[in-house]
């Protein structure tokens, strides 16, 4: 919880600084748009979180996001290249394919004991290629599909624009269900146990393979849900949609306090991590400093948008470095206090053979 509180504090400070530098940061248009971005990232980041907390990794997330939209456009779009079928059919098939992808990857990883990194890397490339083939290397328009209303519509309209866009509502639903499953069910407990010590979980009679497979299904399924939102938001599906999203998801999950070793992290943390990612993204555009130049003319200093990746990368590094420093200091303090260290050498005299 401490990690989450620290990140939340940092987030509040960043928001405050951005607001003071540019009041538009919390203006309706920018705020709602940022919330929508946070929501769409958060949905699939929570899916990635399930996999990472169980000690795995899913690199196919971004490709699944892209494929979902492409399938919907291919089946349901009234425009050229679309199948002209009902929107419901397209969405159902797309989500079904996403779940199937997760199931297949999960089965490959758990039954054949393949490394998740390799399986999902192959999945990432393969699915990207499928999307590319479906769109024939170009774009597939959703036309004037009612789906577009999903991204732009919402509740509580002010000046014709909603305060609560639908993706945010979906995100809140995912948060609620995700929190319930991860923190209030036996399945969630097993996810943590497997991430903490896979073998001890197996020795406790837990169906390790089943639970692990489930995490990959959850990840791909939520990537599918996010994919539907992105399709509605973008409207033009090309092979480029979703590229590198899996890395944003991993970054958000790690920023939120999950360890890639597994066994650590919370839904709240992932939500904070996703928010952090998007606020920084948005803040790079919004941040400005007023100053007078040598001639006394008022000017605005802005961040170079080319710095976006530099700043995002630096923030992630700073977060993990701080976290590790805290760990090392705590471990040193424990050793000095004489208690056995958490992950230190076994207290047993080494077994002689």
């Amino acid at each position: 919880m401490k990690r989450e509180l620290g990140m939340l504090g940092a987030l509040v400070v960043i928001c405050l600084v951005l607001f003071l530098s540019n009041a538009d940061f919390l203006g309706q248009s920018n705020a709602v748009n940022t919330l929508r971005q946070i929501a769409m990232l958060g949905i699939y980041a929570i899916g990635s979180g399930f996999v990472i907390i169980a000690g795995g990794i899913d690199l196919s997330v971004g490709s699944v996001v892209g494929l979902t939209g492409v399938i919907i456009a291919r089946i349901s779009s009234q425009a050229t290249g679309g199948g002209g079928h009902s929107l419901a059919l397209g969405v159902i098939v797309a989500l079904g394919v996403a779940l199937l992808v997760g199931l297949l990857q999960g089965l490959l990883i758990t039954r054949l004991q393949l490394q998740p990194f390799i399986v999902t890397l192959a999945g990432m490339l393969l699915i990207r290629g499928v999307s590319q083939t479906i769109v024939q290397g170009g774009t597939l328009s959703l036309g004037s599909s009612p789906l577009l209303g999903l991204a732009n519509g919402g509740l509580f309209k002010v000046n014709g624009d909603p305060l609560l866009p639908y993706p945010l509502l979906i995100f809140l639903g995912v948060i609620a269900i995700g929190s319930y499953v991860l923190h209030y069910t036996v399945l969630g407990r097993y996810v943590y146990a497997i991430g903490g010590n896979r073998e001890a979980a197996a020795y406790s009679g837990i169906n390790v393979r089943g639970v692990e497979t489930t995490t990959y299904v959850v990840s791909a399924g939520l990537a599918g849900v996010a994919g539907v939102c992105y399709a509605a938001y973008i409207g033009q599906m090309s092979q480029q949609v979703g590229v590198a999203y899996e890395l944003y998801a991993i970054a958000a999950v790690v920023l939120g306090g999950c360890s890639l070793r597994g066994g650590e992290g919370t839904i709240l943390g992932i939500v904070i991590g996703s928010t952090m990612m998007r606020v920084i993204d948005n803040g790079i555009n919004m941040f400005q400093l007023r100053y007078k130049d040598a001639d006394g003319i008022r000017r605005l200093w802005r961040l170079d948008p080319n710095w976006t990746f530099i700043i995002v990368g630096a923030v992630i590094l700073i977060a993990v470095v701080l976290d590790q420093v805290v760990h090392i200091v705590q471990a040193a303090r424990r050793v000095r206090a004489g208690a056995p260290a958490a992950a230190g050498p076994p207290p047993a005299p080494p077994t002689t053979a």
């Binding site: 979980a201 958490a342 080494p350 002689t352």
Partner: protein, 513 residues
């Protein structure tokens, strides 16, 4: 130290003197004031039970770990090693029991790994390394090309590569930790030939082994450690199996340490019947009966196949044949869940690896195998979890600040109590304890013993694997002895003696009493 056999004192100067060596690990004393000497052209056998400190002592000699106290002298000169490289520079080479070779590289690359000479970016002198390796392989009698991948060699052949590696740095002291543990009889004989040859060349060999025959056959002197101290030293002339075992186990088997146990009752009904059970990888089936309320000890050396047997009964590695019956009904677990559903539980040897999820709390670890059955809907019933955890912490008298404390921060004894508590909460019928007191200090041991005795008194059948003879003899109603993955016999309590068990574990095959 007394003189080597035959020679007058001081005839051969000591090559190595380790004096007053001490070492502690996180509060547990591994070595206390241990001294040994080694002379050129001598085989010194280092013996002792598991955990006696042999490996720790040799790791200190090899520069793997620094000692907390004491001195090491080479040729009379005091030295300190701040790493394996420093020890190697003094011509000391440690051959670990788990061979430290890279299976993906060829023999020549392994022999010269870390001593390629020149800089990191200098071209590898492959041809030269191969030539030298060829000569070294000839010396150890390994008929293989230097370009053969180590991964393609048998364990015995790899042992030869390790020795060639030691010879490549002209080692003066070679430490071998259980070199024959996984060798065939043939390979062992070849190894002995090479050891004798090294001895003739003036190399000092420190030989760690549990096997009496080979120790008596090979060594010039035998030093015995017990509980991290010198227990005594014997020359080849005076050494006998009995004398060595007596030094190893110690004469004074302390009374009162173990809780009183009722007389074994052979009329009690059998709870678990094991017949010709084939543990994967074992040469023969294992048969025994476990009675209700009985503590059946399993003695043997490390690698005797006891842990593997436990894992097969618990369903971790399903049996390759044979039958088990629990309460007269067939029992054939294919996974731990099958065993758990029948009330057969395992408290594994490696608590940190198999027994506990270290970052999780005491409560979460206690509930782990049962939490799915607290209710039918799959939600997490923390109320029941906490109630159960509190009850088990009370029953076991586990010392933990709260039940929400991460088990990683508990001592070994308290961690073991959490492992036991998690199974006791599920009403065990058969409880398999694999090395239940490993890494646990004396006070907590006595407590664990009391709990184990109390569980047996409740009618739970207990199968207790232990490498601590005192513990096995102090608690068990009967003791099964395993050697080289076979069950060599079962001894009734009345017939138990350390010498007898020691002999069965190491040498002759004895039939069940």
């Amino acid at each position: 130290m007394e003189a080597p056999d035959g020679g007058a004192p001081g005839a051969t100067p000591d090559l190595l003197v380790m004096r007053g060596i001490g070492k502690r690990f996180a509060g547990v004393t591994a070595l206390s004031n241990v001294s040994i000497t080694a002379r050129p052209g001598e085989v010194l056998a280092l013996m002792g039970e598991n955990g006696a400190g042999k490996s720790t002592l040799m790791k200190i000699l090899g520069g793997v770990q620094p000692p907390d106290g004491g001195e090491i002298r080479i040729d009379g000169e005091a030295v300190t090693f701040d790493g394996v490289g420093a020890a190697r520079a003094r011509k000391i080479v440690l051959i670990h029991q788990e061979l430290m070779l890279a299976p993906n590289l060829d023999i020549a690359s392994n022999v010269f790994l870390g001593s390629e000479g020149r800089g990191l970016l200098a071209p590898l002198a492959r041809g030269q390394a191969r030539e030298k390796t060829k000569a070294l392989l000839a010396r150890v009698g390994l008929d293989q090309s230097p370009t053969t991948l180590v991964g393609a060699l048998s364990v015995g052949q790899r042992q030869m590569v390790e020795i060639a590696r030691a010879l490549s740095v002209s080692a003066r002291i070679i430490v071998m930790d259980e070199p024959t543990a996984s060798l065939s009889a043939d390979e062992s004989q070849r190894l002995f030939t090479i050891i004798r040859q090294l001895r003739a060349d003036g190399v000092a060999i420190i030989y760690i082994s549990h096997r009496m025959e080979e120790v008596l056959e090979l060594s010039d002197r035998i030093a015995v450690l017990r509980d991290g101290r010198n227990a005594g030293e014997l020359t080849r002339q005076e050494a006998t199996t009995d004398k060595i075992v007596a030094l190893m186990v110690g004469r004074e088997l302390t009374g009162g340490y173990f809780p009183p146990r009722p007389e074994p009752d052979p009329t009690r009904e059998t709870l678990l019947e094991v017949k010709d059970l084939m543990v994967p990888g074992a040469p023969a089936g294992v048969s025994f009966n476990l009675r209700r309320g009985e503590i059946l000890g399993f003695a043997g050396l490390v690698g005797a196949g006891r842990t593997e047997l436990a894992q097969t009964i618990f369903g971790v590695t399903p049996a390759g044949g044979g039958v088990m019956r629990l309460d007269g009904k067939p029992f054939a677990p294919r996974r731990p869940r099958d065993a758990i559903n029948r009330g057969v539980y395992l408290a594994p040897e490696d608590r940190k690896r198999h027994g506990l999820v270290l970052p999780m709390s005491v409560a979460e670890n206690t509930s782990l195998p049962a939490v799915g059955s607290y209710n039918a809907w799959g939600w997490l019933d923390r109320k029941t979890e906490r109630k159960v955890a509190r009850a088990e912490v009370t029953r076991m008298a586990t010392k933990t600040p709260t039940i929400d404390t991460a088990v990683a921060t508990l001592s070994g004894g308290n961690q073991q109590k959490v492992v036991l508590g998690k199974w006791l909460a599920m009403k065990p019928r058969v409880l398999i304890l694999d090395e239940p007191t490993r890494g646990i200090d004396v006070g907590a041991r006595a407590e664990i013993y009391r709990h184990v005795a109390a569980l047996a008194a409740q009618g739970i059948a207990i199968l207790m694997i232990s490498s601590d003879l005192e513990e096995v003899m102090g608690l068990s109603d009967r003791v099964a002895v395993m050697r080289e993955r076979r069950l060599v016999g079962i001894v009734e309590r009345a017939a138990l003696s350390a010498e007898r068990l020691g002999a069965m574990m190491t040498t002759s095959v004895e039939k069940a009493a």
